[in-house]
C-alpha cells in the first residue's frame, strides 16, 4: 500500500521486515548463542561464539561419562581408617559420588511429555465429543453450555489456584505424590478442553451435514457416521488441536509449581528450569542449553502444525 514501487519504498520495506524479524528472533539467537559459549565468552556482545562449546548439551543429555567427583583429603583420611565398618564407608563415599548428575534433564523431559501428551489425548477425545454435540445436535440447554464453555475458557488459572488447591487438600490428594500428580493431570485436561472444544466446534460447523446424512442413509448409525465421515474429514484440525493442547501443557508453570514443587522427581521442565535458575547450580550455558532443548519440541510441533493451519489460522487465536 505504501509506495512499494519506488526504490526507496522497497528499501524501507526490506528494512522494516528485517527489523521486525530481528526483534522476533533476537532472544532465540541469544539463547542459542549463550548455550554454545564458553564462560569467558559470555560478556562478548557478539552472538557468534569464539569457540563452540557443546559441554552443556552433552551434560544435559547424559553424554558425558560419569565423572568421579574428587573426595576431599580429610574425608579420604576417614575412609582409609581401617576401624570404620565398610557400610559406613560406602555411605560417606556415596555422598560424594551421587552429585554427578546435578540436573536430570531426561527425567524432567519425560515427566513433561507424560503430562502434556496424556492430557492432550484425553482433552482431544472429550472435546471431539463435546464439540460435535454442541455444534451439530439440537437439544435444550445447548446454548447455555456453549456460552459456559466460552466463559470457562477465559477464566485464568490464577483465579482457580487457591480453590483447586484447597479442594485437593480437602479430599487428601494434595498430600501425596501420586495424588498431586493426578490433580495436575486433571487440571491440564481442564485447561485445554475448552480451547479444543471451541476450535473443533467452529470446524465441525463448516463440514456439510449432507455428507453425514448420506452416510446415515447408507445404513450407518450416527456414531458410525461421526467416526467414518466427520473425523477423517477433520484430521488436520484434530492434529492442530492436539498440538495446541500439547503446547499449553508443555508450557504450563503455575499449577506445576503449586502441586509438584515438593516432589522433585515429578518436576516438569518449566518447574525444573525455574528451580535450576534460582539454585546454586545456575550456570548460563547450562540454563540456555536446557531452554534450547525445552524449546525444540515446540518449534518442531509448530512448524508441523503451521502446514495445517493455512485455512483457519485464527481458530485458536483467541487464546493467549
Amino acid at each position: 500500500m505504501i509506495g512499494k514501487r519506488t526504490v526507496t519504498g522497497r528499501i524501507g520495506f526490506a528494512l522494516a521486515i528485517l527489523l521486525l524479524v530481528s526483534f522476533s528472533l533476537l532472544p532465540f539467537a541469544q539463547i542459542l548463542s549463550t548455550s554454545l559459549k564458553h564462560q569467558y565468552d559470555w560478556g562478548n556482545p557478539s552472538l557468534i561464539p569464539q569457540t563452540i562449546n557443546l559441554d552443556a548439551y552433552k551434560e544435559l543429555l547424559g553424554l558425558t561419562e560419569a565423572k568421579k567427583v574428587e573426595i576431599p583429603a580429610a574425608i579420604q583420611k576417614i575412609l582409609n581408617n581401617p576401624k570404620l565398618p565398610q557400610d559406613k564407608k560406602d555411605a560417606i563415599a556415596a555422598k560424594y559420588m551421587s552429585n554427578d548428575n546435578l540436573f536430570p534433564f531426561g527425567k524432567y523431559m519425560l515427566n513433561s511429555v507424560i503430562f502434556s501428551v496424556g492430557a492432550a489425548t484425553f482433552s482431544l477425545v472429550f472435546s471431539v465429543m463435546g464439540a460435535y454435540s454442541i455444534s451439530r445436535l439440537r437439544f435444550k440447554g445447548q446454548v447455555i453450555i456453549q456460552r459456559s464453555v466460552l466463559f470457562v475458557y477465559m477464566v485464568g488459572g490464577v483465579l482457580l489456584m487457591v480453590p483447586l488447591y484447597q479442594m485437593a487438600m480437602n479430599i487428601g490428594l494434595a498430600s501425596s505424590l501420586w495424588g498431586s500428580a493426578f490433580c495436575l493431570f486433571l487440571i491440564y485436561i481442564v485447561q485445554t478442553l475448552p480451547v479444543g472444544m471451541y476450535m473443533l466446534g467452529n470446524y465441525f460447523r463448516g463440514i456439510p451435514f449432507a455428507l453425514e446424512e448420506a452416510a446415515m442413509m447408507d445404513g450407518c448409525s450416527r456414531k458410525e457416521a461421526i467416526i467414518k465421515v466427520v473425523l477423517p474429514l477433520s484430521l488436520p484440525m484434530l492434529a492442530t488441536v492436539f498440538i495446541y493442547c500439547f503446547i499449553i501443557g508443555w508450557n504450563e508453570y503455575l499449577f506445576a509449581s503449586v502441586f509438584l514443587k515438593q516432589y522433585p522427581e515429578f518436576h516438569t521442565l518449566p518447574l525444573a528450569l525455574q528451580e535450576l535458575f534460582v539454585s546454586k547450580n545456575a550456570i548460563w550455558d547450562r540454563i540456555m542449553a536446557a531452554s534450547m532443548l525445552t524449546l525444540a519440541p515446540i518449534v518442531i510441533c509448530f512448524l508441523f502444525a503451521s502446514r495445517f493451519m493455512k485455512g483457519g489460522k485464527t481458530d485458536g487465536g483467541v487464546k493467549g
Binding site: 526483534f23 533476537l26 477465559m154 477464566v155 490464577v158 487457591v162 480453590p163 483447586l164 518449566p270 540456555m288
Partner: protein
C-alpha cells in the same frame, strides 16, 4: 418432540456429559468455592475458621493491594496498546504477498508459541547488567546511560521490560486477527477513496481504520481478558513486578500464607473479569 428429536437430544447430552462434568467440577465449582473460602481464614493444610468480611476489610486497607492495582493498570495499558499497535503495523506491512513471506510469518509467530520458561532466560540474559547486550548498547556503544544498570532487578524499570516482553510475545496473535480482516477489505473501496482524492494516509484513515474498528476492539478486549490473568510471563521474567496475579500468588503460597485473603483477591478479580467476558460474548460474539 418426535422420537427422532428425542434420540438426538439424548445423544447430544451423552456426548457432552463428560465435558460438563469435568468443567463443572474443576472450574465452575472452584469459582463458587472460592467465594466461600474468601469468608474464612484458610491455612495451607486446609484448616478453616469463619471470619466473615475480615479478609475483604484487610485487603481494602492494604496499601500493597492498591499498588498492585496500579501496577496491573500500567501493565494492561502498556501491553494492550503496544500489542494492538504493533500487530496493526505488522499486518499493514505484511498484507501484500512478497517473496519469503512464509518464512517471515514463521519467524514472527515463533515468540507466540515458544515456552515462556525458555524465552525468559534469553530476555534475562539480554538485560543482564554484566553480560547483556542491552547494557552494552546503551552504555558502551551509544553512551546514553552513564553506567550499567540492572533493569530487571529494579521493580520500576522491570515493569517496562515485562510490558515489552508481552508485546514481543503476543503481538503475533493480534497481527493474525487483524490481518484476517485486513485482507478481506475490497480493492474497490480503496479505488473509490483514491478517486475522491485521498492519498495513502487519507485512505488509511477513511477506509482501513473504519473497516478494522471491530477487529481492533476484539483485540483490545481479548488482550485485556488474558492479561488481567497473566501470571507466568510476569513472574518468571521479573518476580518483583507485583501485578494482581503475582500479588495473589505470593499471598497464597509464599511467606506469611493467607489463602483466605488470596481467595478474596480472586473474587474481586473474577468480578472485573466477568464484566469483560460478558462484554466480549454479548458484543463481539453477539450470542
Amino acid at each position: 418432540m418426535t422420537p427422532l428429536e428425542r434420540a438426538e437430544a439424548k445423544f447430544g447430552w451423552k456426548l457432552v456429559a463428560p465435558t460438563i462434568l469435568i468443567l463443572g467440577l474443576l472450574i465452575l465449582y472452584p469459582l463458587m468455592y472460592n467465594v466461600y473460602l474468601s469468608f474464612f481464614d484458610v491455612q495451607l493444610n486446609g484448616y478453616k475458621t469463619f471470619v466473615g468480611l475480615e479478609n475483604y476489610i484487610k485487603l481494602l486497607s492494604n496499601t500493597d493491594y492498591y499498588s498492585a492495582i496500579g501496577t496491573t493498570s500500567l501493565y494492561l495499558l502498556g501491553t494492550v496498546a503496544g500489542t494492538t499497535l504493533l500487530g496493526l503495523a505488522m499486518a499493514l506491512l505484511l498484507k501484500d504477498p512478497f517473496k519469503g513471506r512464509g518464512l517471515v510469518n514463521a519467524a514472527i509467530m515463533l515468540p507466540y508459541v515458544a515456552p515462556v520458561i525458555s524465552v525468559v532466560f534469553g530476555w534475562q540474559f539480554l538485560f543482564d547488567p554484566i553480560s547483556g547486550v542491552v547494557n552494552y548498547l546503551f552504555v558502551d556503544l551509544f553512551g546514553i546511560w552513564s553506567e550499567r544498570t540492572n533493569l530487571i532487578g529494579n521493580p520500576d524499570s522491570a515493569l517496562w521490560v515485562v510490558v515489552l516482553f508481552d508485546i514481543w510475545k503476543h503481538a503475533p496473535i493480534a497481527y493474525l486477527l487483524i490481518l484476517s480482516k485486513l485482507v478481506s477489505i475490497s480493492r474497490d473501496q480503496y479505488e473509490a477513496a483514491a478517486i475522491d482524492g485521498y492519498g495513502p494516509v487519507g485512505r488509511f484513515f477513511h477506509v482501513t481504520l473504519p473497516e478494522l474498528y471491530f477487529v481492533l476492539a476484539t483485540v483490545v478486549l481479548l488482550r485485556l481478558i488474558w492479561n488481567l490473568n497473566r501470571f507466568e510471563d510476569v513472574y518468571l521474567l521479573a518476580p518483583n513486578v507485583q501485578t494482581l496475579p503475582i500479588f495473589t500468588y505470593y499471598q497464597a503460597f509464599t511467606g506469611v500464607i493467607d489463602q483466605g485473603l488470596a481467595a478474596a483477591t480472586s473474587v474481586i478479580q473474577l468480578a472485573v473479569l466477568s464484566v469483560f467476558i460478558w462484554f466480549y460474548i454479548k458484543k463481539i460474539m453477539k450470542w
